[in-house]
């Protein structure tokens, strides 16, 4: 595995998996409350607690599994979410599972990461049956995956696309998840899952160095 394998532009810093995972743990410890508040406004209010307990489990998994490679680190993240309730738990769990599996070597190439993001999007859509515009995490994930599929694109491009996708959820009403039960009341509120995805991709870009 070397730079010639990549189709995307940037190279990943060594220890990318670890850095990404640890930055997610640190960031969501701070951001969970704000995201939970969004779920309270348009859903059932448990998204913050689901995130907190997911990343607490990630830390436990890390302590037990003592991960070394990217795949091992991301598997810890996946298991943390798969051990968590709500709709986001299993969806993020399977999303990170695809991301974990994308790398052949100790760390992924940018191309592998791009393929992983696409596979992650596919699995979320397979389980959740949501399309872009349904006001879910898909609204951020899908543009991120699209951006990274463009030859030469970087994780920063994907993060910017995800952020724009998350922004777009404010003006629409939800068609999937708990928020779809509140109808018009969800308009004007960002979808917390989409915001979380934007954060996750941003942290990947940061970790890529």
């Amino acid at each position: 595995m070397n730079a010639s394998d990549t189709t995307a532009g940037d190279e990943l810093a060594p220890g990318f998996g670890r850095t990404w995972t640890e930055s997610m743990i640190a960031t969501f410890a701070v951001e969970a409350a704000r995201l939970g508040e969004l779920d309270r406004l348009s859903g059932d209010g448990d998204f913050g607690r689901n995130l907190t307990s997911a990343y607490a489990r990630v830390e436990q998994e890390v302590a037990t599994a003592r991960p070394r490679t990217y795949r091992e680190w991301l598997t810890c993240v996946s298991r943390g979410f798969l051990g968590t309730g709500g709709t986001s738990g299993p969806l993020f769990g399977m999303f990170f599972r695809e991301l974990a599996r994308c790398a052949q070597g100790d760390e992924p190439t940018p191309a592998e990461l791009g393929a992983g993001l696409a596979a992650g999007l596919a699995v979320v859509q397979r389980y959740g049956q949501a399309e872009v515009g349904h006001k879910t995490m898909v609204d951020a994930l899908s543009p991120a995956a699209d951006a990274l599929a463009v030859p030469g694109a970087t994780l920063r491009d994907a993060a910017a696309a995800a952020a724009r996708g998350a922004e777009s959820t404010s003006s629409i009403i939800a068609r999937r998840g708990r928020a779809s039960y509140v109808g018009e009341a969800s308009r004007g509120v960002l979808d917390p899952g989409a915001v979380a995805v934007a954060l996750i991709v941003q942290l990947a870009a940061d970790a890529a160095g």
């Binding site: 798969l82 968590t84 049956q129």
Partner: protein
């Protein structure tokens, strides 16, 4: 006739519990202490398994949100489930719990998942099967139980056909799951292979239909108000088991009249031939007491036999509950000789033994 009229006054419900967050885990610990020869509780992985795992048979795993006890944990034992996986109250168990349970259950002959049809349960069980299949090469099958006639898009006048196309969730899974677990359990115990047990479960799930009503909703532990409130002269018809409202409200009436509101639509939807037989389950939803349940059972028997049908077997009790909801569900399962033989096969679990 017995309804105190007037605007429903407020009901306050307290729980006999410690920290509500520990309720399910502590109860499972208590359950295992009460049945040490039948069950063990794996607190680390969050499932209940037979104390003595059965070798060389298809393993049956079910699970779902808690608050429906004795379902599912008290149906673990000889002739029924191998492993039950409880979530928090009214919340699906996690994919990882289900995955670990599936791995633990497998005795080399494969694992059957019996899943009540709720989005969260369906997603998490599906993920668990994929993980078990890919990571451990465990063969799995699934039976989806969706017996609740009140949520049948085909009979619900309120359903927008466009929404049905839009991948609606379909009928909910309720008390028929007991029949699926019992009958599949008997077949598995007798040595049937995974495909056979799964096909049998689908046959049962495909035939059974249920309808429920409530006089009072249940109250979530840690809360003091029931999930919905009714006037003293109203009954909620077509309720689910998670405090969901029903399809309609009807005036309070006698047990015989209310029971017929459950049984008539079931008989209509099942289109049974005269002379056929059914297994009838008259199920209390929580705080319905045995005098009430048996009066309803008597009414069910009269209504079914009045159609020239037989009640071949009768299960009357609180098996699939919704915390302390006061109400009743009726399940009818048309049966043939094979299903009856499997129904009658020995079973030994905390909640069902014969």
């Amino acid at each position: 006739m017995m309804a105190p009229s007037g605007r429903g006054e407020t009901v306050v419900r307290r729980s006999l519990a410690n920290d509500p967050d520990d309720l399910v885990a502590e109860a499972l610990e208590g359950l295992a202490l009460a049945h040490p020869t039948l069950l063990r509780y794996d607190a680390e992985h969050g499932f209940v398994a037979r104390a003595a795992p059965a070798p060389d048979k298809v393993a049956l795993v079910s699970g779902g949100g808690s608050g429906h006890e004795p379902l599912h944990a008290s149906f673990v034992g000889t002739g029924m489930l191998d492993v039950a996986v409880p979530g928090a109250v009214f919340a699906s168990p996690t994919a990882l719990q289900l995955y670990e349970a599936t791995r633990a259950a497998d005795a080399g002959r494969g694992v059957l998942h019996i899943v009540k049809n709720y989005t969260g349960d369906v997603i998490n069980f599906t993920i668990a099967r994929e993980l078990a299949d890919e990571d451990d090469a465990v063969a799995t099958e699934v039976v989806l139980v969706d017996d609740d006639l009140a949520t049948d898009p085909a009979t619900d006048p309120a359903t927008d056909p466009a929404e049905t196309d839009d991948g609606g969730p379909g009928r909910r899974g309720t008390a028929a799951v007991v029949a699926v677990e019992k009958i599949c359990g008997a077949a598995a115990e007798a040595g049937a292979d995974l495909a056979t047990v799964a096909a049998l479960g689908r046959r049962v799930a495909g035939r059974a239909r249920s309808m429920a009503l409530a006089l009072t909703a249940g109250t979530h532990p840690g809360e003091s108000r029931p999930a919905f409130e009714l006037d003293g002269d109203e009954v909620e018809l077509g309720v689910g088991i998670h405090g969901e409202r029903g399809r309609s409200r009807v005036p309070m009436a006698s047990a015989d009249e209310l029971t017929s509101l459950l049984v008539e639509p079931l008989l209509a939807s099942l289109e049974l031939a005269r002379g056929g037989g059914v297994v009838a389950i008259v199920n209390g939803l929580g705080s319905t007491y045995p005098l009430e349940l048996h009066v309803a059972a008597r009414a069910v028997h009269r209504l079914v036999t009045a159609q020239g049908l037989r009640v071949d077997r009768f299960l009357v009790g609180s098996y699939v509950t919704s915390l302390d909801m006061h109400g009743v569900s009726v399940t009818l399962l048309p049966v043939d000789e094979e299903l009856l033989r499997l129904w009658d096969a020995p079973v030994r679990t905390p909640a069902l033994t014969w």
